[in-house]
Amino acid sequence: MNSVPKFLQYSKTHEWVRRDEDVLTIGITDHAQTMLGDLVYVELPEIEANLESGQECAVVESVKAAADIYAPVSGEVVEINEALFETPQLINEDPYGKGWLFKVRPYDNDTPHLLNSEQYLKQVASEAH
């Protein structure tokens, strides 16, 4: 079973969101990296880019497939994980840690559309059918 930490929030499209004061860190879930397999390439948004919630803003590619990453919130990109350009497999090895994708300063601190870990687990289970 893939891990779904309780202290994170999730999107329906398999991104996770961690809140550290006024900045959100975003990555893809353990379930998503397992489904994709060995990651070999990433494209990340530019720093200072303005993202709109739901917008395609990054791409992760495994040997098997390319997957779009959707911004889970609206906000400004303040940092990207440059280590992924050389070592995209960090996403496979540590999806909630060293495999983070980018950080955003959200325009709105309210994120009612995001899921908690329990809701996300249900979402994953519903997709298995």
Partner: protein
């Protein structure tokens, strides 16, 4: 539910991620497709390829039928030898690619693709009617491919000395029957190795022995990146009934001599050879980070457009690579459109990765000066 090979439960106990492939439930990988790829390039791996269709053709007129059905010429074979060939329609389009083994003058074995199983058998049976032969599909058999530079060493823990000597003495593209096993020195990875056909009820025991000999289980995912690096076409992606061998980097598989030999598709191929082949299949190496994918558009300056037929990521080169059907006038570089943006690629004649047979090591044919190669340990 799809069809299951004799090794289905072996795959499940090895934690395989199973996927549908041409109606079969097959292992995609057992954890890491990239790791499995490296095992085969540097060490040894085993694939379950029991989904492949095995057809035994027997009878006095079997060679006559195959001379007419196949673009390569089975008259080149002595008993115990194999060749790779296309089977064409009258327009020269490729119905399938296959390996044919000559076992005796009146006994040949064909290995055809699983995705083309029904149409291949229909085509073979239709033409076989006019000849005195029998065709039997060997659904009672499993097939394992054991591939990689360390396979020869590792097989000593699997076979007894007498059998081992027979197997290790096989020359490339030769095969031998060994008790219930049929062992051929063939494969689809670009590495040295063997393909073993055996009764389904013996397959799990041999699989266990191979795994115990530290030959790693590898899935169809690694098989695809290995064959792509080796520049080997995949039927249904790189070729189909709308293209000829001459447009598919397979002119070498067409036996033009002797001129008197009539084979299906010959007239069309002769005409195409005369009038000129406008499209060809080339290798592309992406010169920027990224991954090439099937159906991406290839732009050749002033020459028109082409399309990627098989694109992926090369774990050995650490680059995006692809086979692409392009205008025959293509030069040394082209552009590939990825998500609306153009990216530069180098054009090469496949393979991307070749093994140096004498040293048993891998030589990288594409862009040997790139620093990205430095991290790749391809010694074997």
């Amino acid at each position: 539910m799809g069809k299951k090979t004799a090794l289905y439960s072996s795959h499940l106990s090895a934690n395989a991620k199973m996927v549908d492939f041409a109606g079969w439930e097959m292992p995609l990988h057992y954890g890491s497709q990239v790791q499995e790829h490296h095992h085969v390039r540097q060490d040894a791996g085993v694939f379950d390829v029991s989904h492949m269709t095995i057809v035994d053709a027997k009878g006095q007129e079997v060679a006559a039928l195959l001379r007419y059905l196949l673009a390569n010429n089975v008259d080149r074979l002595t008993s115990g030898k194999a060749l790779y060939t296309c089977m064409l329609n009258p327009q020269g389009g490729i119905i399938d690619d296959l390996i044919v083994y000559k076992i005796r003058d009146d006994f040949f074995r064909l290995i055809v693709n699983s995705a083309t199983h029904d149409k291949d058998l229909a085509w073979l049976n239709e033409h076989a009617k006019k000849y005195s032969i029998t065709l039997v599909e060997r659904t009672d058999c499993a097939m394992l491919a054991v591939q990689g530079p360390q396979v020869r060493n590792k097989l000593s823990a699997v076979f007894d000395l007498n059998d081992l000597k027979v197997i290790l003495d096989l020359k490339p593209f030769h095969a031998v029957s060994l008790n219930s096993l049929f062992v051929a020195r063939t494969g689809y990875t670009g590495e040295d190795g063997f393909e073993i056909i055996l009764p389904s009820d013996e397959a799990a025991a041999l699989w266990e022995k191979l795994i115990a000999a530290k030959i790693y289980p590898c899935g169809l995912g690694a098989r695809d990146t290995l064959r792509l690096e080796a520049g080997l076409n995949l039927y249904g992606a790189d070729m189909d009934e709308t293209v000829t061998p001459l447009e598919s980097n397979l002119a070498w598989t067409v036996a033009w001599e002797p001129k008197e030999r009539d084979f299906i598709g010959r007239d069309a191929l002769e005409k195409q050879r005369q009038s000129g082949v406008m499209r060809c299949l080339k290798g592309l190496v992406l010169l920027e980070p990224g991954v090439l994918r099937n159906h991406q558009k290839v732009i050749v300056e002033d020459m028109g457009e082409g399309e990627i037929t098989s694109g992926s990521f090369s774990p050995t080169l650490n680059k995006g690579i692809a086979l692409a059907r392009v205008p025959h006038t293509i030069g040394a570089q082209c552009m590939v459109e990825i998500r609306g943006k153009q990216h530069r690629a180098e054009v090469i004649k496949p393979p991307f990765v070749t093994k140096n047979k004498t040293a048993g090591s891998v030589h990288i044919s594409a862009d040997p000066h790139s620093k990205r190669h430095n991290g790749v340990d391809v010694k074997s």
